[in-house]
Symmetry: C3
Subunit: 322 residues, 3 copies
């Protein structure tokens, strides 16, 4: 898989592993495909038969009720059969290797694996193994791997931004918070960059920034007020609870003071700036309730669009692309 | 929501939160609607397409395999897409508030929430929040909240009684056992009272009776033999295991001696009296096996009717009432 | 149930509890019925409507994600409604008896119970109870009970052998490993014997052989090289992790040396011998990776055929046999 492992030889989506290196036209096609699915959700009957008879396996090696739920709903609305596997507590305990587990499920005639794993690269490893063994009719969707990527989250954020702001090439966008540990941030930054955002900002304390952040095309701001000045889009990140006790941060209160999004700080952005958050929110830590529930927040539309984007990805992969 | 929050402005069922204050004609309509669903269960193909394409979320903040199963079956037989969420072990752990969880799931285009929660009033809070935020197309069914209410259990008991006894206004009914801690008892008593049962009895030791029991229209009996004399219906309650070690009860053996339903005690009721129990039973604690498996027990029919009643409630809520 | 409890009075499959005593023509009919389902799995739409509207309950009193998944997929591909119940952590904790649990689920109009239980005989007990109480429209499939039986595994192994070797009456078959504790081995040996395998071998250390092994028609080999000489089929068993610490075995390394299947040992079998394993594999304990991934292994086809065989069993039981 020296070539882009996510695309087949016709340049079509084969797996969705990361937004890094995903061509602009493929991203755009995903967002375009999602549009009618956003409508489906409003119809009386929300089901379409695109994946009827297909078997989608939610392979969650790491618990995530929320993400698993969004994929489960998306697959069911496409009429797929969905099998949930919480492998955190199952056969890998019995000493079976990851690839033996995958081989077994593939042998049950899986059509798609939605994979969540604590190790960066696990979905890539699975995709590579499937191709190496000639089973390229099975598609892999990364639902979050380690600190690496969470591409459907990145794409639903792009959908949301396009919905409210239309033209990426005119935007100032700030990604704010614990960028160092965030697979969401990485997926956002790659996608924003590919879509041509000219002013892309990383706003975080020094201890929560990855070393290569400037290579990714971001301007760095350690002062949140500076970072938000004049932006069109504020993309807040969740502060993981486990960081709050660590040595990287003084305290949740201190964090909120400097990097929590308040109405006062948000006022420095453009008046029509929108605020995104991947959820679940820590109110009073990275975001103030007045903002979370305010008129500029598009956090719940993100969730709605997220179903549509996941339907789009699954439909493109499973609906005859193989 | 100063008005009855369970009814919309046309007096139709909007949510099912409690049997308290539920008008007699609404209860009767639910029971009538359940009749054909009881037949559906006997047909070769048990599915009807009433909720096709609708998304029903089983939101269980408290574990209950049995109750969750009955709602899952009911929803699937109505052709809904069912998503099970065991939130005991999930995102609320991540510091998300109850209402943020609800907002998120609502944003996934939920049509119905079936809610089980250890705190009394949680389903009401959710319903109130949905209405306050203009999302009255989403319906809430209380599947048991704290010590407050378990309305579908109360309604299936009404269905069962009506099935065997027809006219509520001629009946003597005894509710027996740990009434103090029982949401089931509360839901039964409100429904029986609304349906016009003229002789409603609460049979329990003093330590297991709520203070306001007489205000609910019950005559109190501390002697079970007295309490059962001449009744048409005996509604046994489950004795929670955790009570048995507490200071409220001497021992399970002692309890059985005074408040366990034996054939000898049951003989004091009318010869054609029926015996109900919400399950799971503690044989030899609140009920003797000879009674549980005897000709007067209608405990398994309760379960069957329970599916039909839940189908009726969900169909009335989700089938175009909004 | 003095007669064979698995067959109804017309000699048709009523329950699937064990391969012991299952007549040859019934086994053959199951394998024949599975053939087109193996094709279904390759079609674009893998669903058939044979169990539409039927309710299949996966009753797992013992965790097994893998086995539960195979039954769930099989049932969904037959268009059944599937309800998963992990009873390890549920209402039996509340003091309810096994048969009360069964009665309750039966009252929810179950059509089929797929039962996994740590106690040998539990599925038989359930089947007996259903018949004794006149509910013979409900079918029981044993998905593994204690050390007793795992009949669908045995049958899928028969399907696999027939697929590659055609005529059972010409075969030498070796079952290798921890036969003493293996319900899989028991189900294989009964089926192989019924299907007329003339040379059936049990290959195991003395401490891992049941006393009655010769009565089952097996020739015993304590030397694996002897046992494999000239066989057509090698059926490896999983070595349970818990055995490895026990007193029955010196160590996993020692076990591998004497009873692990290596290419060198496999070379003693016929050149076209096939290797089966029920999974999950302990690579480097009972089987070497070179064999597991080698050209003679049919371990992944077993998995694929397993879905087809389970579909066949469920279709025969639930599709109008009652």
């Amino acid at each position: 898989m020296a070539r882009n492992p996510q695309l087949n030889k016709h340049g079509e989506l084969q797996h969705l592993l990361t937004t890094e290196g995903l061509p602009r036209d493929v991203i755009t096609r995903i967002l375009d495909t999602a549009e009618p699915f956003a409508d489906v959700a409003e119809r009386e009957v929300k089901k379409v038969p695109l994946l009827r008879g297909k078997s989608v396996f939610n392979l969650f090696f790491e618990n995530s009720t929320r993400t698993r739920t969004t994929f489960e709903i998306a697959a069911k609305r496409l009429s797929a059969d969905v099998i949930n596997l919480n492998i955190a507590t199952s056969s890998t305990n019995k000493g079976e290797t990851l690839l033996d587990t995958v081989d077994n499920l593939a042998a049950m005639q899986a059509d798609m694996f939605v994979v969540r794993h604590a190790s960066s690269g696990a979905p890539y490893l699975i995709a590579q193994h499937l191709e190496a063994t000639g089973r390229d009719h099975i598609h892999v969707v990364n639902a979050g791997d380690g600190r690496h990527a969470h591409p459907t989250q990145g794409l639903l954020d792009m959908y949301t931004i396009r919905h409210y702001k239309r033209d990426f090439t005119q935007l100032s966008v700030a990604v704010v918070g614990d960028i160092l540990h965030s697979r969401v941030a990485r997926s956002q930054i790659h996608a924003l960059s590919t879509l041509g955002v000219p002013d892309l900002r990383a706003v975080a304390p020094k201890t929560l920034l990855p070393q290569d952040i400037e290579r990714l095309g971001c301007r760095v701001f350690h002062d949140m007020r500076e970072g938000l000045r004049g932006v069109d889009v504020v993309m807040m990140l969740r502060l993981q609870n486990e960081r709050m006790q660590g040595s990287l941060l003084p305290s949740a209160q201190e964090y909120f003071k400097f990097f929590g999004l308040t109405e006062e700080k948000l006022a420095l952005a453009k008046p029509d700036a929108i605020v995104l958050h991947p959820g679940p929110m820590n109110r009073g830590v990275e975001i103030d309730s007045a903002v979370a529930d305010g008129r500029q927040a598009v956090i719940l539309p993100q969730v709605t669009f997220g179903i549509a984007v996941r339907m789009a990805v699954m439909a493109m992969l499973g609906g005859g692309n193989a």
